[in-house]
């Protein structure tokens, strides 16, 4: 049942050792187009002298075993995924010649999106698409290219447009895209057409050798076994039925307009990694920051307000400065139901020990920048804890008597500084002053890390100082 390849190209193995059974013949049926197309490709690889650079993608389908034959690098892939795998290998080895070879089920059905997207990205690969209007490998089921009226094992009464739609015309589709540089449909019927196949194969490969772009060659091909015909009948059926449905010709070719270029290897940089990755390399953790009073140690902080008040930024500033002060720190924006209702909150922990739960269920510190936040979290604060609230926006003081409370008109003070949005830094100043958790200079050192607009840094420093001064002045009243 197997066809012998007579004059063997050097890009074929002399003996097909990967194959079981007879190792001098392919596994393809007599009259099958796959063997002929293989031969034309192998000869082209020989003639271009690219055997050592070629990587062949063997698809799922009858050509799954292409790696038995082609003496080139080979990747056997999942059904329909050849263009995605080809993308992966070509991107890592742009110097290589990648051939993606697919049947119609593989390319036009299960892998339809993969081929369209690879074509549209203009991957610099060569695609050979065997269209035999049937699933050969699995025994003759309908393919997306099966003709209307064609009987297959899954269209026993013939394909109907009503049930299965019309045959998919891939060259027509792909040639509408901007990226592909060459799209042609050819047919393995008579010697004249076969020589056109040979030319198309070479052109599609040359395009890649010259690093020009995505080339797509659809090859109409007989599947006598799937069609349940003799080889001779199959050839005639192609001429009578397939060719009228799938017109031959060049659908797109802009390759001449493109200049050839070098296929160069990927070069990785390994120098200056810290700089490129924005990783600090200079010592930035202090070891000389004195401990605060016991009641202010290891704070678990909830910061809450409405969106736009810079709550997350305040938490970040605290965590960044806390880290530089030598604490273990964590910062997490609120998750889940708490996120709703236009409020923003985050949890920050500064600790001398490794931090367990990064979420704060019983805060030792609550920073409330609006009334809903105060109302929501006040009851959760640990006895002996601390509540700081913006008294310019919240005109009722917390009810708790077992916690320390500081009302600070942060928004009003920020307005006086000319920028409402700086209220968060006033609160940060107040917090460090009241607790002594870290000195001002640590916070000031940290500012450039979490403030994007460098020209706002002096204003932020001023705000922190205002917050600290407020606490100093009102100490005892807090």
């Amino acid at each position: 049942m197997a066809e012998k390849v007579l004059t063997k190209a050097a890009s074929f193995y002399d003996v097909y050792e990967r194959k079981s059974g007879a190792q001098d013949v392919t596994h393809y049926c007599p009259g099958c187009g796959h063997g002929v197309l293989h031969k034309l490709i192998a000869e082209a690889i020989d003639d271009f002298g690219i055997r050592d650079q070629t990587i062949f993608i063997s698809p799922v389908g009858c050509s799954v075993f292409a790696y038995y034959y082609f003496r080139v690098g080979n990747i056997q892939v999942a059904h329909g995924r050849a263009p995605a795998v080809a993308t992966g290998i070509k991107r890592t080895h742009p110097e290589s010649i990648v051939i993606s070879y697919q049947g119609d089920g593989d390319l036009a059905a299960i892998g339809g999106n993969n081929i369209l997207q690879a074509a549209n990205r203009g991957e610099k690969i060569t695609v050979f698409f065997i269209n035999n209007a049937i699933y050969g490998m699995t025994g003759g089921q309908m393919a997306p290219t099966t003709l209307i009226g064609q009987r297959t094992t899954t269209t026993p009464r013939g394909r109907t447009a009503a049930n299965e739609g019309f045959p998919l015309k891939m060259c027509e589709l792909i040639s509408t895209l901007e990226s592909p540089i060459y799209v042609e449909r050819v047919a393995l019927t008579d010697p004249k057409n076969t020589s056109k196949v040979r030319r198309a194969v070479r052109k599609a490969l040359r395009n890649q050798i010259e690093n020009k772009g995505f080339s797509f060659v659809e090859v109409l091909s007989a599947c006598p076994s799937g069609w349940k015909m003799t080889s001779v009948q199959a050839k005639q059926w192609m001429v009578d039925n397939l060719l009228p449905q799938f017109p031959l010709g060049v659908f797109k070719d802009v390759s001449k307009e493109l200049e050839p270029s070098e296929r160069s290897k990927v070069v990785f940089s390994t120098e200056n990694m810290n700089e490129l990755l924005n990783i600090p390399s200079e010592e930035n953790i202090r070891t000389d920051v004195p401990k605060p009073l016991t009641k202010f140690q290891n704070p678990r902080i909830i910061l809450a307000g409405f969106g736009g008040q810079g709550i997350l930024m305040l938490g970040l500033g605290l965590a960044q400065a806390g880290m530089q002060a030598g604490y273990h720190v964590s910062w997490i924006p609120s998750y889940g139901p708490e996120m709703r209702g236009g409020t923003a909150n985050c949890h920050v922990i500064l600790s001398e020990e490794r931090i367990g739960s990064p979420t704060v269920s019983k805060p030792t510190v609550l920073v409330a920048m609006n009334l809903p936040s105060l109302e929501k979290f006040e009851s959760q604060v640990e006895p002996g804890g601390l509540i700081i609230y913006d008294s310019s926006l919240i005109n009722q003081s917390p009810k708790r008597k077992d916690v320390k409370v500081l009302g600070i008109p942060a928004t009003e003070m920020a307005d006086n500084l000319g920028n409402t949005r700086i209220a968060n830094m006033i609160v940060l100043g107040a917090y460090i002053a009241i607790t002594g958790i870290m000195p001002k200079d640590v916070v000031v050192d940290a500012l450039p890390i979490f403030i994007k607009h460098k020209k706002l840094i002096p204003l932020n420093v001023q705000a922190i100082e205002k917050g600290m001064a407020f606490v100093d002045k009102n100490n005892g009243h807090a």
């Binding site: 995605a84 992966g88 990785f268 953790i285 964590s330 490794r354 367990g356 739960s357």
Partner: protein, 349 residues
């Protein structure tokens, strides 16, 4: 010391690049998109490639291609996206391709939500795709480990020629913590099997098909031997206050962080409680649990799922001691107090 306050998701990308990874193929999904975004930003700066594939199905196949070419490569996704990647994962395991997958788990099943869950344990640890394969699965619980374990994942993937996974949750991904980044890896392992498009590898083949049952069985035996080797060498776990404990909490990822606080709460109440945190979910620290089941009275497994890892704990304990289970799902994360209350109930039972 130089530290950076950074989100876990971003620490993954920097760790990957420091480990020599220069190829990222992925498809966006919350809560893993930040990984794609950081990769899109940093990869080109270090001569690498970032490509947004057309789907998760395609992205993992792009990795299949890249890994065939011998480079370190990665992708990241979240639960529904991982379900789609299972095809390529099975093929990669079959073809023995080293690649690194990040799963920032979210609520399920179906579209679920974007809050943290641990419902992907089974599909990663037990193999969500077809065939007799295992993935190396690492479960970080802090930003530092998002970096360190990602680097380790690349090393183990190469060492065992197998996909390796970082299984984390939205919590660990979103949280910012200090990370001290290690020096970049400069020596990458040779890959004599990989396809480089040069004279030496014209006959190399990356392949998962094998028609002959005998040969495919032999290949499967080879895979199992490899897995046995990994089980011998790569089990990693961490313990907290386990000395003298007679009640052992077991949890991974963000849960292990909550459990650390739970242990402190319970110890303060006078209970002799400790914590075992698997760092490798596969290979699972079952041996350690077998040992513990001799000395402790009972276990309590806590998961953000319907109970997936608990099966592995029960398998190891093998009926010797009670294994209690407490869970939250749908994106709910229990507080240390909530778990402590539950533990006390089990303890007093």
């Amino acid at each position: 010391m130089a530290k950076q306050l950074i989100k876990g998701n971003e620490a993954i990308v920097k760790g990957a690049i420091l480990a020599g990874c220069r190829f990222y193929f992925g498809y966006p999904i919350t809560p893993a998109s930040e990984i794609a975004e950081a990769a899109a930003y940093y990869m080109p700066l270090v001569g690498g490639t970032f490509l947004q594939g057309e789907s998760e199905v395609a992205s993992i196949q792009m990795l299949y291609g890249a890994a065939s070419g011998g480079v370190r490569c990665m992708t990241a996704s979240s639960s529904p996206g991982i379900s789609l990647k299972q095809e390529g994962i099975s093929y990669s395991a079959g073809s023995e391709l080293p690649l690194v997958l990040i799963d920032i788990m979210r609520g399920g099943p179906g579209l679920g939500n974007i809050a943290p869950e641990q419902g992907d344990y089974n599909q990663m640890v037990k193999g969500g795709g077809h065939g007799n394969y295992k993935l190396i699965v690492l479960a970080p619980n802090c930003a530092q480990e998002m970096c360190d374990l990602t680097m380790l994942a690349f090393e183990l993937a190469d060492k065992y020629r197998n996909p390796a996974v970082i299984l984390a949750d939205g919590f660990i991904g979103q949280m910012m913590e200090p990370v001290e980044f290690p020096a970049p890896v400069t020596e990458l392992p040779e890959k004599p099997w990989a396809i480089h498009a040069d004279k030496n590898d014209e006959t190399r083949l990356i392949c998962s098909i094998e028609l002959e049952p005998e040969v495919l069985e032999a290949h499967n035996r080879h895979l199992q031997e490899k897995y046995a080797e990994a089980e011998k060498n790569e089990v990693r776990f961490e313990e907290y206050r386990i000395d003298g404990a007679d009640f052992v909490l077991v949890g991974y990822g963000v849960v292990s962080r909550v459990l650390q606080t739970t242990v402190d709460l319970l110890r303060d109440q006078g209970h002799r409680v400790g914590l075992l945190r698997p760092i490798t979910l596969w290979p699972f620290p079952g041996k350690r649990i077998v040992e513990l089941s001799d000395s402790v009275d009972s276990f309590m497994v806590v998961e953000l799922s319907n109970g997936q890892m608990v099966d592995d704990v029960r398998l190891a304990v093998n009926g010797k001691k009670p294994v209690h289970f407490y869970n939250r799902m749908g994106g709910m994360v229990p507080s240390p107090e909530e778990i402590a209350d539950q533990a006390v109930k089990f303890l007093e039972d």
